[in-house]
């Protein structure tokens, strides 16, 4: 490795603009004549929509338009869709209800957009939105998924009887039931995975500009995948054909999944900009983010795991109800199915698995992928079960896991996934060592002397990243391919620009992607620029989610670099009168291996563009593109160990030690990878200890601000002890597995296992708030 190449902890190139206040986020964009949109939103969770009287609002200062769903429909703007078709086990297609960008006929959750006001200033638009009079005829409300499935529950969509979207299954039911029937021990649990609000710190925003002369739209938006946004806006929402729509996702302040989807507001801003003839900007207030950003998780599961007399797992039976909220968001159907149930084998040999998943409409915000998406739910389930089973069986939780580990690869699970590589025991051993597992009893005793209850818990997670290959996901119902694209442009002076379809919203691609180029071509990092986030600059891309930008996005760059190198070597061989096969590229030169003959990189590039002396028949230029479609998912895995101290007087839990041992395959930049793990851990610990999303029975969101939704703050968290072990991923050229979600996936069960160990209870619902923990202690006493 070079000092700036693969494996180097390089400080980020992109930081300078962020630390000086020069980052450019969507709300920082200003275009001449720009006006401001504020949405009128339903205050009711379920109601028939009556007359919308906007006369008073329209007369208010600065207001240029008040637009409603009827007008939107008249202009033939399409409904929002879910892009992953899942069928029920009886073959019936999923029951997707209509979702109009501005409500028509009915509203289905608090925050449903009803109308939009466009005015000269934000304050004027806000005042006028208050003055829009909307008649609502309230309907009965259902917020809980289990309630929604009950006979006689309020109906959210007419075409989803009983609020059931689909009833899906995976695995072998009969074999699993038989295995459980013959098991020496069966552990049973009911497990809830709490609903979370992603809370990227930059609220969602959109600025739409319509150019009448060109009949062309430009949209600046807070997106993790601007090309997918353009595709969906064109193909399904009928806003404009792709060649008439440019989507720019400039600096984006975090996403965690919530900025994958295309939301009503972008569609409405685009449409309103054409209708009003002025550029229209909308920026969410935090309360709107809480109400309308796609939420995450919200599963309720009955689970049984059987063991034979030697404590080997014989079967796993899972019955999950997933709350998808009032509408099916873009990838909502995939999260509790193919991103969840396919990971239910975990790190273990489980001969028989069956999972049934019912997805349900309720009068709550739509639910979709949030950091980890399905994999945290699977991991939480398995790792709570393993820990509980170990306690029931009277064996060490580490040893129960160890004896059930998968050890041979490739390993075909009973639930689609084929694991390509791993070494789970290495992660387990590294984590136990780093955590001083053996020293725990002494620490517990010491804590007890101080009046504190100390507990330890572990979790061994596996996840599937990259979200590919395209043909495989297509066969499972995905509406898009999941490859990535890249173009490497070598300029005439030898500097390099890389156009990538991946999008960085905190991940540091401008540095890590440049490290790859630097490594391959021997150029300093400052001679490499990474360009992303603009559909006019990058032809096509699938964006960033599912920890895919390293494994898939960088593999596309590597493939394009292969082509650039091949051509550069031909040119160099011609210039040096050598054999192409003898040329190596290093230290910014093309060299003839084993000789002192060389030509500087910039001269090879210059030769490509002057084209005065190229090999016969060669086209001028040095620019190559590639699409990379991976051959498998990647399977990061690891072991996390959490230690907590509970104050029995108050029920407050302190995380006193957190160890993460991850196998991400090969690592490009350890500094950035550690940062990803830290952030994921904070979100996972947040879920387990602090965060919860509460609706009251009438569908009002009780946790709609930072006063009520407990975001993890600096003092809630410890410093983390993170380390890695490496088994390179055999399924992509760089051997990368992905690191973006692991922390959020592996940490919640480790923490709850530690708290239940500390207080000596079996069941505890997330988050382990002081009140819940205190009540559990009282119930025990």
């Amino acid at each position: 490795m070079g000092i700036q190449g693969i494996g180097a902890s390089v400080a980020r190139k992109e930081d300078r603009r962020f630390i000086t206040g020069a980052g450019r986020y969507t709300d920082d964009m200003v275009v001449p004549g720009m006006m401001h949109a504020v949405f009128v939103r339903s205050p009711h969770a379920h109601a028939t929509l009556g007359k919308i009287d906007s006369a008073e609002a329209e007369d208010m200062p600065g207001v240029i338009a008040v637009l409603t769903g009827e007008q939107l429909k008249a202009d033939e703007i399409g409904n929002l869709i879910c892009g992953w078709a899942i069928s029920s086990k009886d073959g019936a297609p999923m029951n997707m209800g209509e979702w109009s960008p501005l409500a028509v006929g009915k509203v289905r959750y608090v925050g449903d957009a009803v109308a939009v006001v466009v005015a000269e200033t934000r304050a004027q638009a806000r005042d006028a939105a208050e003055a829009v009079m909307v008649d609502y005829d309230e309907l009965p409300v259902v917020v809980d998924a289990l309630e929604a499935l009950k006979e006689g529950a309020p109906q959210v969509h007419d075409n989803a009887p009983g609020n059931l979207i689909f009833d899906w299954e995976i695995g072998e039911k009969a074999a699993t039931e038989q295995a459980l029937a013959g098991a020496a021990h069966v552990t049973k649990m009911q497990i809830r995975n709490n609903r979370l609000v992603p809370n990227a710190m930059e609220p969602r925003a959109a600025l739409a500009k319509y150019d009448r002369a060109e009949d062309h739209f430009t949209l600046w938006t807070t997106s993790q995948n601007p090309h997918v946004a353009r595709l969906v806006l064109s193909a399904f929402y009928n806003v404009a054909p792709e060649n008439k729509l440019r989507v720019i996702a400039p600096d984006v302040g975090g996403g965690f999944g919530s900025k994958i989807y295309i939301y009503p507001e972008e569609i409405v801003c685009l449409w309103a900009s054409k209708r009003t003839g002025v550029p229209v900007k909308w920026v969410a207030e935090r309360t709107e983010s809480f109400l309308t950003d796609a939420h995450g998780r919200d599963h309720l599961t009955e689970v049984e795991m059987g063991f034979d007399a030697n404590n080997r797992i014989v079967g796993l039976k899972v019955d999950t109800i997933a709350n998808l909220g009032a509408y099916m968001s873009l990838f909502s159907s995939a999260v509790p199915t193919y991103l969840y149930a396919t990971l239910l084998s975990g790190q273990y040999v489980i001969p028989a698995i069956h999972a049934n998943v019912r997805t349900v409409y309720t009068n709550t915000a739509p639910v979709d992928a949030y950091r980890g998406a399905g994999r945290p739910e699977a991991t939480y389930l398995l790792e709570r079960m393993m820990e509980t089973a170990a306690r029931e069986l009277g064996v060490s939780p580490a040893e129960l896991r160890r004896m059930n580990f998968i050890r041979e690869y490739p390993y075909q699970t009973p639930v689609i996934m084929c694991y390509d590589a791993g070494d789970y025991e290495a992660s387990l051993d590294a984590a136990m060592k780093a955590a001083d597992w053996d020293g725990f009893p002494a620490r517990r005793a010491e804590a007890e002397a101080r009046g504190k209850l100390r507990g330890i818990g572990m979790s061994c997670y596996i996840e599937a990243c990259g979200i590919a290959p395209s043909a495989a996901v297509g066969a499972l119902g995905a509406g898009v391919g999941l490859w990535e694209s890249a173009e490497v442009r070598v300029n005439a002076v030898g500097t390099v620009e890389v156009m990538t379809g991946s999008h960085s919203h905190g991940q540091g691609h401008e540095t890590t992607f440049a490290q790859l180029v630097s490594d391959r071509l021997g150029l300093p990092l400052d001679q490499v620029n990474i360009v992303h986030g603009d559909t006019d600059k990058v032809q096509m891309g699938m964006g960033t989610y599912g920890s895919r930008s390293g494994a898939v996005g960088m593999s596309a760059i590597a493939k394009a670099l292969d082509k650039v190198e091949t051509k550069a070597k031909k040119i160099a061989a011609h210039l040096l009168e050598a054999d192409e096969g003898d040329i190596v590229i290093e230290d910014g030169h093309c060299k003839v291996a084993g000789t002192d003959k060389q030509v500087p990189w910039f001269q090879v590039a210059l030769a490509a563009y002057t084209a005065h002396n190229l090999p016969d028949g060669m086209e001028p230029g040095l620019k190559e593109g590639a699409f990379y479609d991976p051959s498998n998912f990647t399977f990061p895995a690891g072991c996390y160990i959490c230690e907590v101290e509970v104050d029995p007087e108050t029920g407050k839990t302190d995380v006193v030690q957190f160890v993460a041992s991850d196998d991400f395959g090969n690592i490009i930049n350890p500094l950035i990878v550690e940062g990803q793990v830290h952030g994921g851990l904070a979100q996972g610990i947040g879920q387990a200890l602090l965060e919860d999303t509460a609706y009251d029975a009438s569908g009002q969101l009780l946790t709609a601000s930072y006063m009520d939704y407990a975001m993890p703050r600096a003092a809630d968290l410890p410093s983390f002890n993170v380390g890695t072990t490496v088994t390179p991923c055999p399924s992509n050229p760089l051997g990368i597995k992905g690191c973006g979600e692991a922390g959020a996936i592996g940490s919640p069960p480790a923490l709850i296992n530690a708290v239940t160990d500390a207080i000596g209870v079996r069941d505890l619902t997330m988050p382990a708030s002081p009140r819940r923990v205190w009540e559990a202690l009282q119930a025990k006493a």
């Binding site: 400080a11 980020r12 992109e14 930081d15 300078r16 603009r17 962020f18 630390i19 000086t20 206040g21 020069a22 980052g23 450019r24 986020y25 709300d27 920082d28 200003v30 200033t121 304050a123 809370n199 990227a200 710190m201 930059e202 609220p203 600096d251 984006v252 302040g253 975090g254 965690f256 207030e285 935090r286 309360t287 919203h505 905190g506 991940q507 540091g508 500094l671 950035i672 550690e674 940062g675 830290h678 952030g679 994921g680 851990l681 904070a682 979100q683 601000s705 930072y706 006063m707 975001m711 993890p712 703050r713 600096a714 003092a715 968290l717 410093s719 983390f720 922390g743």
Partner: protein, 162 residues
């Protein structure tokens, strides 16, 4: 309407704004100083922290009119030209930022924390002092590291001299 006169990043400005204009919005929209961010509507995230007369203030909790007559420093004014403030440098070196959205407020708050504690900072104090700044990306680990490193750099020299 309110008439304001203030010094922003060393430059005198005078403007007439709507009475209800918050300092955060005045800086972003009237002064085009978009490094000050707005991340919430309940004054809890700290993305909007600036210095008013040398003290860290959440600029969303203050009317622009209330800052009339004051010296305001935003992230854009923290350092000049090519030289970064030690706190800015430490955030870069220790990877104390990811998406960058909380970062400007974090840095402005951290500068104030370091100044107030005069070199006497430990991890627990930094964590407690950052109570009003939310970061969703970093898990705070590297932010805390960066603040302690900057503190050591800024106070190490003077301590050694004492």
């Amino acid at each position: 309407m309110a008439k304001l006169e203030m010094t922003v990043n060393g430059r005198k400005v005078s403007r007439v704004v709507d009475d209800r204009t918050l300092l955060a919005h005045f800086l972003r929209e009237d002064m085009q100083l978009t490094g000050t961010h707005v991340g919430c509507d309940t004054s809890q995230c700290g993305a909007c922290v600036v210095h008013v007369d040398g003290k860290a203030v959440k600029s969303c909790t203050m009317l622009a009119a209330q800052a009339s007559g004051a010296q305001v420093t935003t992230i854009e004014g923290l350092s000049s030209g090519a030289d970064l403030h030690p706190v800015q440098r430490a955030f870069n070196e220790h990877h104390g930022l990811q998406c960058g959205f909380c970062t400007t407020g974090m840095i402005m708050a951290s500068v104030d924390i370091i100044a107030r504690h005069g070199g006497d900072l430990d991890e627990a104090t930094v964590r407690a002092e950052l109570e009003g700044n939310i970061c969703r990306c970093t898990g705070y680990h590297n932010i805390v590291k960066a603040v302690l490193a900057a503190n050591a750099e800024m106070h190490g020299a003077s301590q050694a001299a004492e």
